[in-house]
Amino acid sequence: MSTANASAPAPSPTTPLPATAEGRRLRAMNLLFELRAFIALFVLIAVFGVLSDSYLTWDNLVTMTRHVAINAILAVGMLMVILKGGIDLSVGSTVGLAGVVAGVLLEGLRIGFLDVVVYPPVWAVVVIALAVGAGVGAINGTLVTRFNVAPFIATLGMLYMVRGAALLISDGATYPNLGGSPELGNTGFDFLGSGKIVGIPTAIWLMVLFAAAGSFLTRKAPFGRWLYAIGGNERAAELAGVPVKKVKTRVYMISGVCAAMAGLIIASELTSAAPQAGETFELNAIAAVVIGGASLMGGRGYVRGALVGAFVIGFLADGLVILGVSTFWQIVIKGAVIVLAVILDQAQQKVQRRGAAVAAAVATGPGEQPAARAAT
C-alpha cells in the first residue's frame, strides 16, 4: 500500500526554471495563470463595485457568499470525482431527492402497516437525507466499478432515476411546510438555510466545513494522493497497489453527500421542498470546477480552485441581477466566462509544457531539447 503514495505523481509538477530571461517570463506567466480565477474574481468585484454602490457592502457580500455556498459545496464533491477522472451528473437530481426526503420526514412519515406517523427530530432528518445522498453515490460507484459503466453514462442514468424517485415519492408536489411544530419537537430545520452562527449564515459555515474537509482529503490524506494517482493514470495506480475500486466508490459517495447537503440548504432556505429543485445544478458545479483550473481528464485540480470558480459564477450572476441586466444576457455572459476559462487553461498548459521543455533543456545541456520535449 505504501508504495502507492510514493509512486503517485505530485499534484502540481512544478519544474524549477532557469534564471534566464525566458525562464523568468515563463515563471511570471505561469503564476498569472495559476491565479487567474482569483484575478477574475477580484476584477468582477471591482467592476461591479464601481457600477453599483450596493454591490460592495458587507451585507451584500454575505448574501452573495450564501448564494455561492450551494454551488461551492456541490463543486467540492464534483472536483473530487473529476480528479479521479470521472464525472457526476446526478448531483442536481440528488439535490432534489434530499429535499424531498427531508420534506417527507418533517411533515411526518406514515408507516402503513403500523398505522403510525413518525416525526423524527431535525438532526435525524439531516443524517437520513445525507445518507440517502451517500446511497445515490454508492449506486453510482457500483455502476462504475462493478459493472464498468462509463461514469458519464452511469451518472446520466442516475440523473433520471434519482429525479424520478424524487417525483415518485412526492407525487410531483411540493412539501410546503418544513418549519416543523413545537409539539412534535421537530422545529429548527430552517437553521441550515436562514440561521446564523456568530453573525455568519450557517450555509457559509457549511461551505467552509466542506471545503476544509475536501482540502484535507485531497491534500493531506492518502485518499487524495490515490485520487490524483487514479486520475493521472488509472492502470499505473492499480499496479502500484491503489485500491482503485474502493476509492472510486467512496468519491461518488462523497459527491452524493455534498449534493444532499446542498439540497438540505435549499429546502431549509425556502422552508419547502420541490422535487424539481436542483435541475442543471450539475452543470454549474462542473463549470465551477473547470473555471477553477481542474482538468476534466482527471489528475489535475484543487479544492480552492473549484471554490473560487463557484465564487466567480455566483458573484457574476448576482452582480448582473443588481445591475438589472436582462436574463438572456446573463446566460450568454455565464457561458462566455466558462469558455474563456478553458481557453486560458489550454494556454497555461502550453506555457507549462514550454517551461518544462526549457528546464529539461537546461538540465541536459543544449542540443538535447527535442528529446526532452518528446519526453514531456
Binding site: 453599483s52 450596493s54 454591490y55 457592502t57 451585507d59 451584500n60 448574501t63 452573495m64 448564494h67 457500483t142 462493478r146 459493472f147 432515476m161 424520478g164 424517485a165 417525483l167 415518485l168 410531483g172 408536489a173 411540493t174 410546503p176 438555510g193 436562514s194 435549499i266 432556505e269 425556502l270 422552508t271 419547502s272 420541490a274 422535487p275 424539481q276 429543485a277 448576482d318 441581477v321 443588481i322 438589472g324 436582462s326 436574463t327 438572456f328
Partner: protein
Amino acid sequence: MKVHPKRMRFTVLVAAAMSALALAACGSDDDNAAESTPAAAGGGGEAGGLISIITPSADNPFFKAEADAADAKAKELGYKTSVASHDDDPNKQSELIDAAISRKAKAIVLDNAGADASIGPVRKAKEAGIPVFLIDREINATGIATAQIVSNNAQGASLGAQDFVKALDGKGKYVELVGKESDTNAGVRSKGYNDVISQYPDLKKVAQQSANWDQQEAFTKMETILQRNRDIDGVIAGNDTMALGAVAALKSAGLLDKVKVVGFDGSPDAISAIKKDQMVATVLQPAALIAEMAVEQADEFVKNGKASKPEKQSIDCELVTKDNADEFGVFARL
C-alpha cells in the same frame, strides 16, 4: 467465464434491486402513461374508445391537476385514456401525437409545447381524422384544432394587478418577477400587470427580473434585488412558485410584514400562504375546469361528429384573496 461466487451474489443482488426499482416505477406509471380501463362501460351509443391526454409535465401541480381532471372526466364518460407529458419538447410532443394517431385515438386533449411548433403536429392529427382540443395554451393558427380553450391570462393579470394596486394604496416601489421569457404567458401576464399599474404614476418599478418560473431562482434573485432596494413595498410575480420564492427571501430579510406579494396560478401552496397573510392575492386559473370542458366537448364531437362550441374559448380567471381563500381547491372552485 468464471465468476467469483461472492461477486456473483452481489451482482444478482444489485440487478434484483434495480429491476425492483424499475418495476416500482412502471407500477405507478399505470395511472399516468399506461392505458387504464374505463370506470363505466360506455355512456352514449358511440362513446368509448381512447382519448389521448398530453400535458407539459407531471411534476408541476398545475399540469398535474389539468391531466388528472381530464383523465377523471374521460373515464366518467366511458373512455379509455392515455396520459403522457411532452416536457415542453416539441419533438416529443410530435412523437406522442404520432402514437395517438397510430392507436386510433378518438380525440386528443393537448396542452401544447409551443404556439408555432405545435401547428404541424396538430394538423397531422386533424388530417388523420382525430380532433384536437387544445387547453391552457393557444397555437398561432385557427381552423386546425377543434377547440382552443384557455384561461384568460390578460384578464387574470389585470385582476391581480388591480388587487396589487389596492394593497399598495396606489403608491410605492415594487419589483416584478417575470416568468420564462420565451413563454407566451410570461409576456401576456407581464403586459397585463403593466397596463394596470402604469395608470398609477406613484407606483415605481425598481427592478424587473426573470426567475424562469422557479422558486429557488426567485429566492436568490429577490435577495439580491433587496440588497439594492430594501425599501420596496410590493412584489408582483408571473406565477405562484416565484411569488413563494420571493416570500421566503422577504421572510429571511424580515420584510414580509411590510411588503405585499401577489402571484398568479392559484396553486394550493399560494392559497395557504394567503391564509397565513404571507401573500396578498393570487389569480386562479381554472385548470381543472378547462380540462373537463375539453373532454366534454371531445365527447360531444365523438357522438355528433361536429364541434359544439366555437374554436376559441377564453375562460375567466378568479382572484383569490384572504376573504375567499377557503372557497378554492386544487386549481378549481370547491
